[in-house]
Symmetry: C2
Subunit: 427 residues, 2 copies
């Protein structure tokens, strides 16, 4: 196909007219399609039907250590659930606390706790004049929303194909004591789908933070969320790597079964060094008497162990893979060679990241919306919803049924073309 | 029986010898009994077997408004759960947010949020030099632990038979802008079992707080937790009462099904004015994508409505009533007339409150412990675990099977007698 930039004004005008006609006919259909959020589809949710058989009226509600999961207590979770989530996070069960249904809630509370009570005895962050978090971009909007709510200054760090720009990360972390944290989705990153290289992980582990209470927020949301059997990213395990360099207190790990069992009622977990775990437990023992242990038991009985969980993830992959391939094939066939955008080809996770020409993202999202396709808001993948290039768009292909997805992506590529032509025409 | 104080030294010594002998024989049994916490018993938990039938593999997981409870979303809970919990709290469903499994967690987060983000736009409490909470005593130890963790100064307010000393409450709240809250368990109070009179509730509703961000933390934990069909406390509904006086933003209501379905996996809720609800939602939308809606659905399907729930509570009462009566009968028969202690006779809730002679509570708890009976720590019912009279002991008769409870209370009355005799002997 022709590179748009090489076309004459006349050619572009003709192209624009035909694109506009096509766009108007889509608009006339009054569609209502959604590629905004990383929701599992109904088909995925339906797979888990047997899940509710795991706690029968006549079943035993005791954990392997004899704890009655129906009653109060067991703040850190039942041992078999700590094992399961520990295996998911690749960290020993003794370094795990199992919480409720939301890893976002754990992360929020972790930041909140640091604000008001400090980190393992450090000065509460709210008592300091200024604190900062590093934010690899594009990144996860809900991470940025947490630090924004607490008034923490966020600093953009470019996310390359092998992870964050580590020169910048080292520069900030090792020299600036007001830098207290960094948000990471290290595997099948949200939204770009890239995974951190071994070198990047090792450089993280070797950091020498200026702040004793600096922590890496390692949100391994997509750790076993592969799309392929034969093509999978491998991520070096950071906790063990940190231990090698005497930095085991520097990392907090988070994960959940939200996209394994159910988003609405999965279980989530926190993994960290004994010192961090002991501190967190000393605080949360005042916050709750314990999280939902019956749901923990349900998960362990259904998945059995990490192998059962990994096997189960293949069923999710079978549903998701065709959706990702549909989107990528369409982007390839419609946009390749036009030089009006680039996109990622992840082997897992929930998103494809699209970079439009500078200054086009907001317009593309608006054009899609007018034609009935909801995308994640342009800018959402940056702190303060401010993408300095107005370029990045997150595509979430998981939720719509495949026929709706096909329509949605048709409209998306059309919007990209139309907005790009307008830009080249200076309109 | 003889009033101990009227006995001669010789009589007391003889009595002491015989009590000590009895006590030693209990000790020799190496018992392990627990009356420390308000746990439902296994017998109560077993009643709910059918609960797990409510979400079958082939059942519909949609809420009445068509929300798929397995997926993300619905921050304030599904409408039918808001209705159920609203009916439990006697507040309209639109004024309710349904959370996870722990009302304690809601209360903790409510205080925490006020500390760091303020209340509906007020200055965050952590930015103020000093803030205070009023604490009717004896009260619930976990309430006091929350305010203690955040460094909030706690002020003892005597809890009379009809509620807190309202002269003192008015004096503090209406004049001191550093007073930001008061902890209340208004019905079948923990631990004394008393309920607030209509007059007390009305005086609460008529408060004119010096602080715009003063809130009443109304933890109605035992709202439908009666022991009798014919003898029940009635509590005036405070939200409507506050509305009458233009004070609807002044009260936060909390409740849960922890002692209705399961302590480990019930549902909990928050009830407040629209202004408060809107503010809380604007904050928690950053904290979580939503609580466990499948568990909400399970509760609504099992209990149907508030009437189903109330009917269900009669089954709990049938199990709990004999335990309370056993304890009260033993206290009556063994301690009446001795003038070495007083105790409450609640019609509901989970506790009996015992007041020993001044300076005896810690010793009684220690004697019980040495003989294998765990009680709530003496002092726990006061802020900072400091009972100035060292007198109050919380008895939790709910968890032990009735034969174990009988042994435990035998040891308790023996310990009360022994410690009291020692005190009178000046030992």
């Amino acid at each position: 196909m022709n590179n748009y930039a090489s076309m004459s004004k006349e050619e572009l005008k003709t192209l624009k007219d035909s694109l506009q006609k096509e766009y108007d006919s889509f608009k006339a259909k009054n569609l209502k399609l959604n590629m905004a959020r990383g929701l599992p589809s109904n088909e995925q949710l339906d797979m888990e039907a047997d899940f509710f058989n795991t706690l029968y009226p006549d079943s035993e509600f005791k954990s392997e250590l004899g704890i009655d999961c129906r009653n109060y207590g067991q703040l850190d979770g039942i041992s078999e659930a700590r094992q399961l989530m520990g295996d998911m996070m690749e960290i020993p069960a003794e370094n795990v606390i199992v919480f409720g249904n939301s890893s976002l809630n754990i992360m929020y509370d972790t930041v909140c706790r640091s604000m008001i009570l400090g980190v393992c005895g450090s000065t509460p962050w709210c008592k300091l004049d200024k604190i900062k978090f590093l934010c690899p971009v594009p990144g996860y909007d809900r991470h940025f929303a947490i630090t924004e709510q607490f008034g923490i200054e966020m600093i953009n760090i470019p996310l390359n194909e092998d992870g964050p720009d580590m020169d910048m990360v080292e520069e900030y972390v090792n020299n600036d004591p007001t830098v207290k944290g960094i948000w990471c989705v290290p595997k099948y990153s949200n939204p770009s789908g890239i995974s951190y290289s071994d070198e990047v992980v090792t450089r993280f582990a070797k950091l020498k933070p200026a702040a004793e209470d600096f922590r890496i927020f390692w949100d391994n949301a997509y750790t076993i969320h592969h799309l392929y059997d034969d093509k999978q990213d491998e991520l070096l395990e950071i906790f063990a790597e940190c231990q090698k360099y005497g930095n085991e207190d520097m990392v907090y790990k988070f994960c959940s079964t939200s996209k394994v069992s159910f988003p609405g009622s999965g279980i989530a977990a926190f993994g960290a060094s004994k010192k961090n775990i002991d501190f967190v437990k000393s605080i949360i023992t005042i916050q709750t008497i314990g999280h939902d242990k019956l749901n923990q038991l349900r998960h362990v009985r259904y998945f059995k162990d990490i192998n059962g969980m990994k096997e189960h993830m293949k069923k999710h992959a079978n549903i998701l893979r065709p959706k990702f391939e549909l989107v990528l094939n369409k982007l390839d066939s419609e946009l390749s060679g036009l030089e009006i955008g680039t996109w990622t080809r992840p082997y897992g996770g929930y998103f494809i990241s699209f970079n439009a020409m500078e200054g086009c993202a907001k317009k593309i999202v608006a054009y899609c919306k007018d034609a009935g396709v909801t995308l994640t808001g342009a800018g959402a993948t940056y702190p303060y919803k401010n993408d300095p290039m107005d370029s990045n768009i997150r595509i979430a292909p998981t939720f719509p049924p495949i026929d709706e997805l096909a329509q949605a992506i048709d409209i998306f590529v059309l919007a990209v073309k139309l907005v790009s032509v307008n830009k080249l025409l200076g309109e």
